[in-house]
């Protein structure tokens, strides 16, 4: 009888041990927000979504129907979608209405520029190694421009996905 009682008490402590609150130790590091990384994007944008989102991202407004129709027509008129998407993006980038940041804005605060770029186009924060790579590029190559980075982002694989 005593041994049964002992077993019951031991089992109780075992269960309660699983639920025991753990002590929280806070070390001297900054809190980091974890957002969706690129690898979790699984859904390919449709052609229509891709074109209209690129327009919205570049011009800060919804694409007018007439423009979207023309873009879709052009998109369907060429078999190589990478090539035609590239042509359409280059046209949008060349427009004076495209809201591309200035070079000084990028160089004054590369990290802010990179974060804003990723937020705008990838809907996520950049990873640390992405910030490091792009900051290094901006700081060490005077020929890099915001247009170059925006164009590379807009024509990257990740931008084709949600």
């Amino acid at each position: 009888m005593r041994s049964y009682l002992f077993t019951l008490i031991a089992f109780f402590f075992l269960l309660s041990g699983c639920q025991q609150e753990q002590d929280i130790y806070l070390y001297e590091v900054n809190p980091v927000d974890v957002t969706q990384d690129g690898a979790n994007k699984q859904n390919l944008k449709s052609d229509l979504e891709f074109l209209s989102l690129a327009f919205s991202d570049l011009f800060g407004q919804t694409v007018p129907n007439s423009v979207l129709n023309m873009m879709v027509t052009a998109y369907n008129s060429l078999g190589d979608k990478t090539l035609v998407a590239d042509i359409l993006i280059r046209n949008m980038l060349n427009s004076p209405q495209a809201q591309v940041p200035g070079a000084s804005e990028m160089r004054n605060n590369p990290q802010a520029f990179i974060t804003a770029t990723f937020n705008k186009f990838y809907i996520r924060d950049p990873q640390e190694y992405e910030i490091w790579f792009l900051t290094d590029l901006i700081e060490n190559d005077q020929q890099i421009t915001p247009e170059i980075i925006w164009y590379a982002v807009l024509t990257s694989d990740e931008y084709r996905y949600f």
């Binding site: 690129g38 190589d80 990478t82 090539l83 990873q127 590029l137 024509t155 694989d157």
Partner: protein
Amino acid sequence: MKRRKFLKKSTLATAAAFSAPFILPSGRLFAKTMNRKVNHVVFCLFAGGVRNLESVHLNEGNLMPATLAGADSTIPGLDPLPPSPHPVRLTTEGALFKEFRYREGPTGHFNGHTVALTGVYTNTGLNLAANPQYPTLFEYYLKHNSPSVTARNAWWVSNALGPYPALNYSSHPSYGPIYGANHLAPTALLGAYDVIRQPKQFQFHEEELIKKVRGFLNKNFDKESSNDGKGNFNTEADAESIRNFLQSMITLVDQGGYLNPLGMPTQTANNDVFTIFFAEEVIKAFQPELLVVNMTDVDACHSNYSQYCNNLRKADYALAHLWKTIQETPGMADDTLLVVVPEHGRNLETNTVQDVYGRFGVDHTGDPTSREIFSLILGPDSVITRDTVYGTPANPVGESIDIVPTIADALGFLPNITSNFLSGRVLNEAFR
């Protein structure tokens, strides 16, 4: 096949080809030696539904004076056209299959195009939003031609959008977009002139930086990016040459170079004429080994018979101009087949829609007359049995599914096709 995987495999295969013999799945050490009849084929789908009665039977007089012998038609409603661009009738430089047949399946435009480009009859309606089920001529060529070639050599120039862009590759798992042709719908593309006319130009060093940044971003997003949504594949160098070509087309439009296309007054030219005009620009720029172009304006016949006849004459004129341009293009002259065939015909009976001249329209709903078509194969004198006619109404010769094997044979890759979808035959009568 995934695009990156394909590129990796292509690179490895190329490297391996230099270091070790390549054994084919058939067990053969190398691909069969290619025995080509010619090095270029242009396939013109003389489409939209052309009835033999108005074409080779000359029931309305000769509506194809650049191609056929016979007194010109004098029916009302025909626009005046310049003389034929080619000095001799086309049939004198080709083999005419006067009674060709579209034997099976619905006589729909897309069905007909699909049969002509896959060599397989479709006995059911097609999903207009989908690529064909069976491999296309382009995929056979790009997969089986030896030595391998890139899509810069294979073009599908369509005169409209709708379902036609889907014909540059199939959904077949062993083929698909990696072996797809470069599709171009020139008049549609240039109709969207405002969104393509001024692409941002980057300097060489800027392009290198773009590649560096994009490469970094893509590497971090390494999910074996699929071909979904990317269409056919071009190498970087080919894509650059196509981009330059398109820019030259935009410049040409800017400068009015498309006016009076093929030497025809602009107000007389129709969409078919403009399409052939731009197909000729592709020919001049790339000298492709395989180019397919279609015309469809004769389909006005549903509601305007006179316009059908009018457009048939313009298609005939454009065809002669296409042949002339081929003969004037270095690298293609005397080394090119021009294969011409409508996708299907039209019914014997008219419908109830009258045009301004009181003539009734004609549909195409699968009656025996709508399966009667012709085919013309033009080529060098040393290759083609010129000025010959095959087939009678009682004894037709050739059918739609024969076109793919005939072109594959002419370009020499037919023996390398191991799949058994093709049940048509090579139209050997046309060749010496």
